[in-house]
């Protein structure tokens, strides 16, 4: 490493370090804008880690997206092989070469054909590289992999001094270079290329833990720039490389007080009237068969009914099976899938490593741009990694979704017997609204109960509701709370029937009493009438007698 006064060179000019954007999703974010412009970057890693692809993608994207022509000097694969290898990623190298946007040169170094005699240098290689750069006016160059030279020449002293000269030459040419190198025992590269490239070193890795392999990338060094130092998982798929920046996420996303319906009117009321907050994170946990998926599907349906977009990631059921099952409870998702508002994506949790799931979810989310994401269930992810891994992945996922104002809905299967709250402690802190569905076993029946364990920032009901799945969807009923505790299911029904019977008896008694009263009143009335009549009669007699007296 070249240092001046113990300070890495370049650091003095940290602020105005120009960068060449890679165009690779995520990589520009962790490097703060791209690779050091006009300087060489070393990309190293074991076989099959994706270093050639990274170098090629840098060139191709430079030529297609940033109007920076590039040169590719390949030492291993021929130009045809290279073009073929990247065609599957949608890169048309032949076309770019034809359009004079990319220059390709395959430098073949075959030790068996070369006999050394006396002094030599690699001037011809320089001339070839210079030619490739000049033909297209390249601003970027990829050398893949320059270590092949070490197999072709035996004079190490010449080779090393020539390599040093090469990097100086590239800097003088002002090209941003990506040099790939094979990872070797103990050091970053087998031939110690890092000794020559001191500006930026990226290490790629491809390792398997618990039989699940994950590609990772780490910026070992980036002179003059603050950069992420963690290992970032990355993905190679039909669109090339995508890296997931994880620590770049901060806790400063905008919050919304807009509410989104849960899909269950009664539950909306339990949550203070409106439902979940838009962009919040919701967890439904419960043991098997408590209706978590039904709640998730109801939420998804409510989302798409509003005309919003919903991404449903199923880790247990295939999309068809899920759609069929949900139709049976009156949640018909299919029309919305056809309309493109709902995307059902099913995959096995063990298909990728845990980090890969995160990268994949990121990718789907950025492509589909949903308003809500449902993951059903997250507990299955622990098959693909340890619980800590899952927690850290979920934390980053929730952060990401929140930053995008996407409502996140998770279900979590808790195993029976354990305290429901305890098992989920790890993820509790990142969850805003937590619903718990649980079995209530009573009177030889198993019924479902739902309550709101917590719901940040809103007034919410503290009552347990009985949770009934009907062919028309989910209904929440009041549970009977009496001196004997909570009653559900047929016991609640029986209690209600009993109450109704009581009511009927009381009503009957009331009617009887009323009749009696009426009878009494009638009798009284009759007597009153009698008395009045008698009085009238008496009065008339008296009048008659008085008149008689006066007349006399």
């Amino acid at each position: 490493m070249m240092r001046e006064n113990g300070i890495p060179r370049g650091r003095q000019k940290a602020r105005d370090l120009p960068k060449a954007p890679t165009g690779i999703q995520g990589l520009d974010e962790i490097t703060g804008g791209g690779l050091p412009k006009g300087r060489p970057t070393l990309v190293c890693g074991g076989p099959g880690c994706g270093k050639t692809l990274l170098a090629l993608e840098f060139i191709v994207r430079g030529a297609t997206q940033f109007n920076e022509p590039g040169a590719i000097i390949t030492f291993e694969e021929t130009a045809e092989e290279l073009a073929q290898n990247v065609r599957s990623l949608g890169f048309d190298l032949d076309r770019l070469v034809k359009d004079k946007k990319v220059a390709l040169d395959h430098v073949r170094v075959e030790a068996s054909e070369i006999e050394e005699n006396g002094e030599y240098d690699l001037e011809a290689l320089f001339l070839r590289i210079g030619l490739a750069i000049d033909t297209v006016g390249a601003k970027r160059i990829a050398l893949d992999t320059i270590e092949s030279l070490f197999g072709g020449f035996s004079n190490m002293a010449v080779l090393r001094s020539e390599l040093r000269r090469l990097f100086r030459f590239l800097k003088d040419k002002g090209v941003t270079a990506v040099i790939t190198g094979e990872r070797g025992g103990g050091s970053l590269t087998r031939q110690g290329l890092e000794e020559y490239v001191s500006d930026c070193v990226i290490l790629l890795d491809h390792r398997a833990t618990n039989h699940i392999s994950t590609r990772r990338m780490r910026i070992v060094k980036y002179r003059g720039t603050t950069h992420g130092t963690s290992e970032y998982p990355f993905l190679i798929d039909e669109a090339g490389i995508s890296v997931l920046p994880v620590t770049a996420l901060k806790l400063e996303h905008a919050v919304s007080s807009e509410r989104v319906s849960t899909g269950v009117p009664r539950l909306d009321r339990m949550l203070g009237g409106g439902g979940y907050y838009k962009g919040s994170s919701i967890l439904v946990s419960g043991t098997a068969g408590t209706g978590k998926t039904s709640l998730a599907a109801s939420f998804a349906l409510a989302t798409v009914k509003r005309g919003a977009r919903c991404l449903y990631l199923a880790f247990e059921e295939s999309p068809q099976q899920l759609a069929r099952n949900m139709r049976s409870i009156g949640v018909d998702l299919e029309p919305y899938m056809k309309k493109g508002l709902l995307k059902l994506q099913a995959s096995r949790p063990t298909f990728h490593g845990i980090e890969m799931h995160l990268v994949q979810i990121h990718k789907i989310v950025s492509e589909f741009s949903p308003d809500a994401v449902v993951i059903d269930p997250i507990s299955n992810l622990s098959n693909a990694g340890s619980m800590e891994d899952v927690e850290s992945m979920l934390l980053r996922l929730v952060d990401y979704l929140k930053s995008q104002q996407i409502t996140a809905f998770f279900t979590h299967l808790t195993s029976g017997g354990r305290a429901t709250e305890a098992t989920d402690v790890g993820i509790s802190s990142i969850i805003d609204t937590w619903l718990l569905v649980r079995d209530i076993e009573l009177g030889g029946e198993r019924n479902r109960g739902l309550y709101v364990l917590k719901s940040r920032g809103m007034k919410h009901s503290n009552q347990i509701r009985e949770f009934v799945i009907t062919p028309q969807g989910i209904e929440l009923l009041d549970v009977y709370v009496g001196p004997d505790g909570v009653l559900t299911g047929s016991m609640r029904a029986a209690q209600e029937a009993r109450e109704e019977a009581d009511l009927r008896v009381r009503r009957h008694e009331l009617e009887v009493k009323q009749l009696e009263l009426e009878r009494l009143r009638a009798a009284l009335d009759a007597r009153m009438q009698e008395r009045a009549d008698a009085a009238t009669r008496r009065g008339a007699d008296e009048m008659k007698a008085r008149r008689k007296k006066q007349g006399q």
Binding site: V109, G118, Y120, A124
Partner: protein
Amino acid sequence: MTATQRKAVSDEQRWNLRLYTAGQSPKSLAALNNLKRICDEHLAGRYHIEVVDLLKNPRLAKDDEIVAIPTLVRKLPQPLRRIIGDLSDVERALVGLQLKPRK
């Protein structure tokens, strides 16, 4: 000896050498001088040296997969041989050009 046979013999004996250089660098000049000396001594009258200056025409480096300078390519007789360096070791150069058997 028929005409075709004579032609075959002369083709076999004819040496076609190409020396890749980059301008008038000391190594290039040394290589050319050493090569001329070897040829005059061992291949008098039946050799042809073509000097290719890659500084003037870098495109030609691709044809013979030239990486190092100077590089001597024996085009004829077959098979193709490549020697890099200024040919200062005459003994080795002779072996390399197959003018002397390998010890």
